[in-house]
Amino acid sequence: MNVHEFQAKQLFAKFGVPVPRGKEITSPEEATAWANELNTPVFVVKAQIHAGGRGKAGGVKITKDKGAVAGLAKELIGKTLITHQTGPKGRKVHRLLLEEGANIAKELYLSILVDRDTGWPTFIASTEGGMEIEEVAEKTPEKIIKEAIDPAVGFQGHNGRNVAFALGLQAMEPAVINPFVQMLGNLYRLFMEKHAALVEINPLIITKEKTLVALDGKVSFDDNGIFKHEDVQKMRDLNEEDPLEIEATANNLNYVKLDGNIGCMVNGAGLAMATMDVIKLAGSEPANFLDVGGGATKETVAAGFRILLKDPNVKGIFINIFGGIVRCERIAHGVIEAAKEVKITVPLVVRLQGTNADEGRKLLAASGLALEVADDLWEAAQKIVRLTGKAA
C-alpha cells in the first residue's frame, strides 16, 4: 500500500527524521490559514497523488507571495495530473501539501528496502539526488552506495558512517555527518517497526544552514504487515485506487485491472499470470489479472463475474481453473449458479482441469448456458480469442 507524501513526512517526523514544516490542505481557505501560520519566505504547494513525476506535470508550485498561495491551491485542487506513472488518464488531485521552502545546498538520494538476494534490509544512497534512481543505477552504477543491515542486531553506527563517508559528506559538509548517521538509524527503525516495503527520500537535502531535510518522501507498506498497524490502515486513500480493485479486495479477490478486452478468472497467482500470457500468445490482450484463490466457491466466482462485467472493455470471459483441493464439479456448479445470478452478456469459455474435471465439464455442457467448455489451456485460449475477435 502506498501513502501520500504528507503522510510519509508525518511518519518521518514521528521517527525523528527532519522534514519541512507543512500540512495537508484540501481547500484554498485552509491554504490561506496555514500560510499565515507558516509565515515563511518561500511557500511550496505540492499536489498529493500516489505517483511520481508531479513536478514535471505541473503539480508543484513555489511562491514567495503569501497572498498567492490560495490561488495556487485553487488551481491545483481538482486538476488532473498526467505523469509517467499515472497512465494516460492521469490522476485527479484531491489534497495538497503546503510547506515551507528550503535553501538547498546539495541534493542526495536515500532509500531502504529489503534486498531480495540477501534477505537483508539495505540502504541505497547516492550523491545524485533528485534524479530517477533507476536511471542513475543504469548509467552510473558506481554512484550507487549500498549498505546492508544485519537484521539480527539491527542498525549500527558503522552502517551509517559507511554510507556517510562513501557519499563524501566529509568534503561536502562535515557538520551533517552525525545527524546523517542518526537519521539512518531512525529510518531503519521506521522501516522495520512499521513493516514498510520501501522508504525513500529523494531528494534528501543539505541546506545552506548546514542541516539535513527530507524534501520529498515516499513510503510504501508491505500489504501483509498492515494488519499490525492501525495508524497505517487509516492512511489508505481510496481515491487513489481503482474502484474495481477496491471491490475485489472487499471480496477477498486479487484483481489488477489491465487494458485488454478478455476478462480472466483463474485460481492461483502463477496460473493467472500464465493465463494472461497465453491470451496474448493467442493474439489478444488480457483485461485483468484475477486470482480467485485456492478455495474458489460459488460466491467468489459470482463476485468475480460482477467485477469483470463492470469493466466496459471486457468483450469475453475466460475461466481457467485447475482443480486441486477444489473439485471441478463444485466450480462448475458455482459457474452455473453465478451465471444465473449475474447476467453474462459476453462470450464465456470455461476450462476445467484437475480433480473431477470430466464431471465438471459435463455439468457445464448440460447446463444450457451459452458457454464453451475446454480441457486444454491452449485450445481454451484460442477459443476465447476467436469468439471475441483479435485485439483492436
Binding site: V114, A269, G270, L271, M273, A274, L377
Partner: protein, 290 residues
C-alpha cells in the same frame, strides 16, 4: 531416488487442529506420507485422524522422532512457528502459510542462517516425492512417478505443468514449490544441485515468474553446474510494472525482474525456455528425445 523427502520422512504438522491443517494432514496421510505428529499449543492429548497432537514441536520430536515440519499456522504467528521448529531440531521445514510480513521473514531467514535446517516456502504448495511422500497441499493424483524434477515459485501453475508431464507419460521424481514471497527459505539455486545429483531425475522443469532475480541467479548456476536438460516457463510477460500480481514477490520494480529479461538470461545459459505454458510437457519430451 528423489530429493528432500521420501517414504521414510516423518512429518509433524504445526497448526494441525485448524481447518486447513487438519484437512491437509488427513490428505497427506491418505497419500501414504508418514504423518507422525501434530502441534497445537494447549491441545496435547487430542488426535487428528489418528495423528497425536502435542503442545510443542520439541515434545513432538522427543516422542515421535519426526524430522520434517509442515506449517499451516496463520501469518501473525508463523515466524514464531518456523523458529520453534528449527529450535526443536527438525531438519526440514515446509511452510505453506501465505501472507507472512516480509520483515518477519527477514528476521527468520537471518536466524536460520548457518544452521542445519532447510526452510521451504513460505507461501508454497509444499514438496511431493511421487508415490512416497506428499508434504503439502498439492493434489496427489495428478502426479505420476517418472523422470522429471519440478521446481517452481507457483502453485496451480505447477499443477498445470505436472499434469502435462503425467499425461505425456514422462512423470515426475520430486516437485518442490519454493513459494511466491520475496524472502523465502530455499531458492532455485538450492534445489537445482539436488536434482543434478539425483540419478533418477533426467530433466528439470523450472517455473519462474516476474520479480526479483532468482531466475537470473539460476541461469548463472545452470550454465556452470547443470548438465541435465532444464526446461523453463516464466509467468508474467504481460504483467505491467509496479503492480503486485497476487504473490508478494511477483512485482516488476524499477524496470527489473521482467519476464523477458529472465527468459533471455535462461536462454543464454542453454535452458529451453517455453513461451506457451501449454507446451511445457511437450518441450520436456523433446528435450529427452522421446
Amino acid at each position: 531416488m528423489s530429493i528432500l523427502v521420501n517414504k521414510n520422512t516423518r512429518v509433524v504438522v504445526q497448526g494441525i487442529t485448524g481447518k486447513e491443517g487438519s484437512f491437509h494432514a488427513t490428505q497427506c496421510k491418505a497419500y501414504g506420507t508418514k504423518m507422525v505428529a501434530g502441534v497445537t499449543p494447549g491441545k496435547a492429548g487430542q488426535e487428528v485422524e489418528g495423528i497425536p497432537v502435542f503442545n510443542t514441536v520439541a515434545d513432538a520430536v522427543k516422542k515421535t522422532d519426526c524430522d520434517t515440519s509442515l506449517i499451516f499456522v496463520p501469518p501473525p504467528f508463523c515466524a514464531d512457528a518456523i523458529l520453534e521448529a528449527a529450535d526443536a531440531g527438525v531438519q526440514l521445514i515446509i511452510c505453506i502459510t501465505e501472507g507472512i510480513p516480509v520483515n518477519d521473514m527477514v528476521k527468520v531467514k537471518r536466524a536460520l542462517h548457518g544452521r542445519e535446517v532447510r526452510l521451504i516456502g513460505p507461501n508454497c504448495p509444499g514438496v511431493i516425492t511421487v508415490d512416497e511422500a506428499k508434504i503439502g497441499i498439492m493434489p496427489g493424483f495428478i502426479h505420476k512417478r517418472g523422470v522429471v524434477g519440478v521446481v517452481s515459485r507457483s502453485g496451480t501453475l505447477t499443477y498445470e505443468a505436472v499434469h502435462q508431464l503425467s499425461t505425456l507419460g514422462l512423470g515426475e521424481t520430486t516437485c518442490v514449490g519454493i513459494g511466491g514471497d520475496p524472502v523465502n527459505g530455499t531458492g532455485f539455486v538450492d534445489v537445482l544441485p539436488l536434482f543434478e545429483k539425483d540419478p533418477e531425475t533426467q530433466a528439470v522443469v523450472m517455473i519462474g515468474e516476474i520479480g526479483g532475480d532468482a531466475e537470473e541467479k539460476a541461469a548463472e548456476y545452470i550454465q556452470k553446474h547443470v548438465k541435465k536438460p532444464v526446461i523453463s516457463f516464466i509467468a508474467g510477460i504481460t504483467a505491467p510494472p509496479g503492480r503486485r500480481m497476487g504473490h508478494a514477490g511477483a512485482i516488476i520494480s524499477g524496470g527489473k525482474g521482467t519476464a523477458t529479461e529472465k527468459m533471455k538470461a535462461l536462454e543464454a545459459a542453454g535452458v529451453r525456455v517455453v513461451k506457451n505454458p501449454a507446451e511445457i510437457g511437450h518441450a520436456v519430451k523433446a528435450a529427452l528425445g522421446r
